[in-house]
Structures are given as C-alpha cells and as structure tokens.
C-alpha cells in the first residue's frame, strides 16, 4: 500500500442542468493503480459524473483536485484552458463507448496512435512508427494492418486501437465509458482481459462507467452505485456485489441472469 497522496480527490461534486439534477454531492479519493467502477442504470447520472470528472463538463458545485507529475495538486477548474487540454492529451486518457468518437476514422491506425505522441512533442518519425507498431502488437492488432484506417476495422479492433491510442503516452488516469458496450460477448471477454492486464502492468488509475456488473467485478477493486444522481452505496467491489446493503443495489445484483 502506498501512503502517498491520492491522485484524484473529489468533493461535493454536483451538476444541475438548469433545474434538473445531473448528480449531487459526489465525493471520493482515487490512488494510483486503483480501478473504480461507477454502476447504475440509464439516467442514474453515471455518464454526467464521468464527464465532470474528466473535465468535459463544468460542475455546478464541488471540487476535483488532481496531483500532477511534479507532485503539486491543483483543482482542474482553476487551471488555464491550455493546461487542462495538455493534461487531457498527456496524463489522462478517455476511452469512449463508441470508438468513432475516440479515433480519427480517416487516418491510418499507426497515425491514430502516433498522433498522441506528436501532441506531446515526439518528432522522430521512425521512433513514432516503432512505438505505434509496438502498441498495436500489445493490443493484438496485426502489424500488417498498421496503414489501414479504422473504417476497415471490426468493432473489437477499433476499441483495441482506441485503447492503444490512449495508453501510448503512459497516462496515469484513464476514464472509460462502457468500454465493452455494443461488442459481441466473445469480443468483450478478450477486450476485458486485455484491459485488465494493461491496467495492472502499467499501474494506471481507472474510472470505468458500466451498467454491466460482470465488467465491474472483473476490472475494478472499488465500486460506486448510482441512482437518481446520488451515490447510494460504495466500497470494495466484491463486498458491495456479494453483500449489497441498499434495496436498489440488491435489485441490481439479483437482476443478473445466471449463465
């Protein structure tokens, strides 16, 4: 256990869309290497929360403090816009449910991975291509497909490419929005195994939003259950899923069809 300060400290996070509640009073800490799952049904506020946490949506109230590589901690909404963008390009990653939003569909797979490197100052073409090739291999994409665009890729391959694009800059925090949503079950299993392994090897902190409790159980060590914009239950993933306390969590857990 590291006793260092948390990577991310969230307090009193609240979002109203006009008078309609997005989420309210969310608070938690996240340390390096921790995987936190946010679960709940559609409309529970979990996607709003992810957008707030990843700096894409400005909160109505509350703070999101992030510990930078130099050790200084700053509220992400006190940063300048360029600073926040730099953080997003380098230290953070964001895996969209639909890979089309996380990839540039018109440029090659190698270019998709290389682009993130160029954004952080890489200029040597050979080094960029070598690193991109290496990352495609790590996400199990055949090297012969490096010059093809993601348009020619299957859904599972696109998602793996999106992961490579995100992880190539060695981020410390990655947000994932239903990363296995919309994929065939066998493709899901492969992607989950890949994600699990990469996250553990690289000691990345992850916040993953999912409605699939099996994904939460396989990937995360901690979980937050959301309902109507509020975190109703939180704790160790296996404890919350095996000994759920709240009526809604019990309903969620008991609604899974046994295989």
């Amino acid at each position: 256990m590291t006793d260092s300060a948390p990577l991310l400290t969230v307090d009193g996070l609240t979002k109203y869309y006009g008078r309609r509640l997005g989420c309210t009073d969310v608070a938690f800490d996240l340390h390096e290497g921790e995987v936190l799952a946010i679960v709940g049904e559609s409309g529970s506020g979990k996607s709003t929360l992810l957008q707030l946490l990843s700096g894409q949506l400005r909160p109505s109230a509350g703070t999101i403090r992030y510990r930078m590589r130099d050790g200084a901690t700053a509220d992400i909404w006190d940063m300048s816009e360029p600073m926040r963008r730099l953080l997003f390009r380098t230290d953070w990653g964001y895996v969209h449910q639909d890979a089309q939003f996380g990839l540039r569909m018109g440029i090659s797979a190698g270019g998709n991975v290389g682009e993130r490197l160029m954004a952080v100052g890489w200029r040597n073409y050979g080094a960029i291509r070598d690193t991109a090739t290496d990352w495609l291999a790590r996400v199990e994409i055949d090297q012969s497909r490096i010059d093809d665009t993601p348009r020619t890729y299957s859904g599972g391959m696109r998602q793996r490419l999106q992961i490579a694009r995100n992880l190539v800059t060695a981020p410390r925090l990655v947000f994932m929005d239903e990363p296995t949503g919309g994929l065939d079950v066998s493709v899901q299993a492969r992607l989950l195994d890949l994600l699990r392994r990469l996250v553990a090897d690289l000691n990345i902190a992850v916040i993953v939003v999912t409605h699939d409790l099996a994904v939460a159980r396989l990937m995360s060590t901690r979980i937050m259950v959301m309902k109507a914009g509020t975190v109703i239950e939180a704790g160790l993933t296996d404890q919350v899923l095996d000994d759920p306390r709240e009526p809604y969590t019990q309903l969620l857990v008991s609604s899974i069809l046994p295989v």
Binding site: M1, H31, E34, A189, R190, L192, D193, R196, L218, T221, R222, G235, L236, D238, Q239, D242, D243, R245, E246, P247, Q250, L251, S254
Partner: protein, 229 residues
C-alpha cells in the same frame, strides 16, 4: 495479540426484495487463532461457517464487533477498515481459497496461479506456479488452457494452487477438498502441515472428517453463535 482475533462479531442480511426480511447469521462470535494453528469451523450447513471466512476476508460486511488482523507491527480491524486497507491486507497478509474458482476468460491455468504472486517477476512467478500445479497433479497439457472448461476437481486444484502459492500469514480455506480424490486430499493435508510449521494461521471449513482430523488443532462448533432458524 494473536494474528487473528474476532470478538462480538454479529452479522445479519436484510433482504429488501422480500419486504425487508431480516436473516440473522451470527451473533457475538469470538475466537482467536495463533501463528501455526489451524482452526476448523464445524457445524451443519447454513450455520454460517463460510460467512465467517467471508467476514474475515472483508467480502461480507460486519454489522457489529471487531475482526482484528495483525499486519506487521500494526493491527487492522477488517470490520471498519477502508477498502484500500482491506485490499492491502489481501495482497500481503490474508489468503483465501474459495469453494469455486472464479475463472477469468482467456487467462491460462498457469497464469491464474502465477497472478497470485504480485511481488516477483513474471517468469519466476510462472516457474513457481508450474511447480505448484505439478504438486497438485494438474496435467501439464492443461496449464496453457483457461480453466473454465476443466472438471470440478481440476478447477479446485487450480484454485488451491493459486490460494496456497503466495506466502500469507493467514490462510482461509473453504471446503478445499470437496471435489478431490484421496491422493489430492493428501496433497492438501501435506501443504497445510507445511504452512503450519512455517507459522501460518489457518481457518478452514472442511466436511471430510479424515482431512479435518489431520489438519485441525482446534475445532469450533459455530452452532452456538448461529442465530439462523
């Protein structure tokens, strides 16, 4: 203090889907276990034996009481510790062999076992995992396959290899021999004996009387703490 001390442990489940039905499981459970001691929990099915192991591991929440685990020079109360502290205990102090293997898709039996060793290089972890699988007589041709399709006994042996490989001060065993033949039951008895001599504290649920008699230093009948009907 002892490596493991439980006092006043009380646990009930409230089933909201059935109108808040309350199912009491344990009331005022207390016991301590020494280094090198094997405590076997006894009692009929439903008495709460497995629940006790889950409470110690932090898999079930403890309603009342304390579950004190010695961690080096400090003591952690699993009943109240934050998630990070419990995870840290699981990585270093408490091992748990569940009744059934929770197979992860696509991960080979060898890696399922090797992953239990988080603090050594992968190649060394694989070597040690291979030795453990061999000891449990898991055929080498199965090592590279994911255990999801294995027989019950094969899965249990993979699970045991995984649970007993890392060095832990406390090991929880839930029905470790339920699906095993005599030869493999003997392997379990051997390894438990080794661990006890190394000073490991073991808490086990074992129905097989010969295994129980071979490993138990203390038997605790949990019926007197059980409150279930």
């Amino acid at each position: 203090m002892q490596p493991l001390e439980l006092s006043g442990v009380t646990k009930a489940f409230t089933v909201h889907l059935q109108g808040g039905l309350r199912l009491p499981v344990l009331h005022d459970l207390a016991f301590a276990a020494r280094a090198g001691e094997c405590v076997v929990l006894t009692g009929p099915s439903g008495a709460g034996k497995s629940s006790i192991l889950k409470l110690i591991y932090g898999n079930y929440r403890c309603d009342e009481g304390a579950i004190l685990v010695r961690d080096g020079d400090t003591t952690v109360d699993v009943a109240t510790a934050p998630p990070r502290r419990i995870l840290s205990l699981r990585r270093r102090v408490i091992g748990y062999v569940t009744q059934f293997l929770r197979a992860v898709p696509r991960v080979s039996a060898l890696d399922v076992v090797a992953e239990a060793l988080t603090d050594v290089p992968r190649e060394i972890a694989r070597d040690r995992a291979a030795a453990m699988l061999a000891r449990f007589n898991v055929p080498e041709r199965l090592w590279s396959l994911p255990p999801a399709t294995f027989s019950g006994g094969e899965q249990q042996r993979v699970n045991l290899a995984r649970g007993l490989l890392p060095d832990r001060a406390i090991v929880l065993l839930d029905e470790p021999t339920a699906s095993l033949d005599a030869a493999n039951r003997a392997v379990v008895v051997d390894i438990v004996g080794e661990r006890k001599r190394q000073g490991v504290t073991i808490v086990a649920v074992v129905h097989d009387e010969s295994v129980r008699d071979a490993i138990a230093d203390t038997q605790i009948d949990v019926t007197r703490f059980a409150t279930a009907a």
